[in-house]
Symmetry: C2
Subunit: 427 residues, 2 copies
């Protein structure tokens, strides 16, 4: 029998699962600090929902795991958390606006397996619905800044506006009907570079070479400039463009919220999905080796309303990639959550169990030997598990109403009361 | 388009999702207090794994959602967390024993929909592998006692031993080859009562009426007795039976760990799954209206080794049902995680955003008006969301370097510095 996980999926044994839990705990606490409550939706969606023309598009639909239930209903595993959000909003018309939520759940895509690409991965989405003002975009940006600070993961956010990008492309001579296609290629600039995108624009998207070069060169002019200079250049190129005005306003609001150097205007930033309508952003690690974005999102004012078949519901959100974030830094804190390992010396199990109980009552995460192993074997096991302390309980200790606390790194031992041992263990 | 969740599955909008997160946070912290680290496995498993003859059995397999990936591989959604655990152990032969883990993830069963039965539900499993001694069973029982105390959900645990149950059935004249089938019916005593089980034993399991009555009556003799009296009666009926010896030893170890009134010996307790080999237990709410068990489990010494095709790996574990636990008590703490709502009075947004930032830095979960609504509408929105405080920021307040803190329940207002407001909000 094949005992490996399903192709493209992974098991997270304790060391990795502890790191993942640490990251999601940090993200959750930041999301909640901004007043976002959780939402949970089922892994399965009706296929009709997933294949809505307003949803993720053809490419993503091709990668959807499809199945039928026993009643013959066509179902699929969700490929993102945005479609379920739209469905929830559409089916709960009485939810008060603004509606904020975070959602941390896995999604599935039956796509090609490349380095760092998996068929099951976890998204951590934060969205606010019902707010037209760019204050919402600024709040999300500020939240993202806080999140990466809390994760102690140095990162910056590239920000752009779809309306500004469209205006730049138009100015370079890209025909309106080829804009969406061109954007899909431009989105790959960071991954396949200038020449790669140029080739795609000409060969796959059907642009004239001159137009393609003009478009890509117009982005080059922004290189090495700071945000103010980029805005000035955009204004010079595009005049009184809505997208540029929005970028300026967004920067001002972000400033009010306390966003500083985190944001970098990036006129070439596209974001692959075609439902974005204004602000788009992408967070990348300052460590250049990590190519994938750590988080990304933007404003999608038309999607929710189209889905619900009712009036427009403005929306903006960001999705943090749990897998790329945990891969970007070592978040592990050892293989064990136990802070101490109680070792009962021969015939002292009953008393040792009582001491384990007392340590837990003091808030110490406590494991205890259940195998009647000898002292040496127990200390070896505990150290291998990454447990920092052993609490040894033998006749000698019990006679004095104390325990021996052993620091498993230094080997230092102390005879003291269980309560005092708990204090030292908890630091 | 049908916007309801997939049949048998549910959305958890903020109020419910907050309650669920609260329960899993409590459970997680108890599991970790006993030194159990997390494990995560993929939702999808190879169908071959799920259909292993050592796994959940035919009934559960009929309820498995099946699908193929694009490579034509036969997959299924996991129906429990025990099979993935067995697979992980089997595929990681170097994991140090004892191996402890908890796992909180959804499982799927495409079965009939009844009250309180869903096709997606979340299990919270805790297991310890590699320990032959009943100390492990006692640790799990103690952990369960702690968990329900921490949840403030009054509950008791029925405990039995499969070997004792088998001996009782044998004594009543149930033929060895009908034992497993009979146990499946006896497991329903709480749900369908004496007469219901009697009928099943005769009509579906093929027992003689006399034998069926004898078996059920032998359980009746234990009614109204305390644990010591039940053990004495078991010893009188079964003599030097292995199962009874184990029950006695289990009670003694549980006592050492600090388990008191939580455990109740229940000689009729069967547990439906046929892989249990010794201890079995089931936690029920003291509130009699809740019929389903809140948590259940037992010892399964043969399963892991059979799965791995190698030597026996003794194991014992418990599964907490997140859905039944959250249904058993109101764990909700309002619809909002925000502790205060910042209301910028006209033209004061920038300053108000700065104050929101400062409140968050003090650790207050803070939401802020993004819609430029008037004071009245904002207070109404915040109160409706269940947010306890509003922080009003206007010209008057800013002139004094203060904010107005309004208690949204009492309507009481105070003019004070943001830092002092934070202290009051955090209690």
């Amino acid at each position: 029998m094949d005992l490996t996980p399903v192709r493209g999926c992974r098991d997270f044994t304790p060391k990795d699962a502890i790191a993942r839990a640490r990251v999601t705990d940090v993200l959750r606490s930041v999301f909640q600090k901004y007043g976002y409550p959780p939402l949970e939706t089922p892994a399965l969606e009706n296929f009709e929902t997933l294949s809505s023309k307003f949803a993720g598009g053809e490419e993503i639909l091709r990668e959807t795991y499809c199945l039928k239930d026993q009643g013959g209903r066509d179902l699929g595993l969700r490929y993102d958390l945005t479609v379920p959000l739209c469905r929830v909003i559409a089916s709960n018309p009485r939810l008060a606006m603004p509606f904020k939520r975070y959602q941390i759940q896995p999604v599935w895509r039956d796509g090609p397996i490349k380095t760092g690409r998996y068929r099951e991965f976890t998204q951590c989405d934060v969205d606010v619905l019902g707010v037209e003002s760019l204050k919402a975009d600024a709040e999300i940006i500020c939240l993202a800044q806080d999140a990466f600070e809390a994760l102690e993961l140095p990162a910056k956010m590239k920000v752009n506006n779809r309306k500004a990008l469209n205006a730049l492309l138009e100015k370079a001579g890209v025909p309106k009907e080829k804009e969406v296609q061109a954007i899909l290629s431009i989105d790959k600039l960071r991954k396949i570079g200038f020449d790669g995108v140029l080739r795609e624009l000409i060969e796959e998207r059907g642009l004239e070479e001159e137009t393609a070069r003009a478009a890509l060169n117009s982005f080059k002019e922004f290189e090495g400039k700071n945000n103010e200079e980029k805005i000035a250049l955009l204004e010079k190129k595009l005049g009184n463009c809505e997208g540029v005005k929005e970028l300026k306003e967004l920067l001002a609001f972000s400033n009010s919220f306390g966003v500083q150097d985190f944001v970098e205007i990036a006129p070439e930033l596209a974001r692959g999905l075609n439902y974005y309508t204004g602000t788009v952003f992408e967070v990348y690690a300052l460590d250049n080796e990590i190519k994938s974005s750590l988080a990304a999102g933007g404003r999608y004012d038309d999607l929710v309303g189209a889905f619900a078949g009712r009036e427009r519901v403005p929306a903006v959100g960001i999705s943090f990639g749990l897998d790329v974030i945990t891969a970007a830094k070592d978040f592990s804190v050892g293989e064990s959550v136990a802070q101490c390992f109680v070792v009962p010396v021969k015939d002292c199990f009953d008393e040792a169990a009582g001491i384990a109980d007392a340590l837990r009552a003091e808030g110490v995460c406590t494991s205890i030997d259940l195998l009647d192993r000898g002292l040496g074997k127990n200390l070896e096991y505990a150290a291998k598990q990454g447990i920092p302390f052993a609490v040894i309980v033998g006749k000698k200790e019990l006679k004095e109403g104390k325990v021996t606390l052993r620091n498993l790194k230094s080997g230092e031992e102390k005879l003291l009361e269980a309560k005092d041992a708990a204090k030292i263990i908890l630091g």
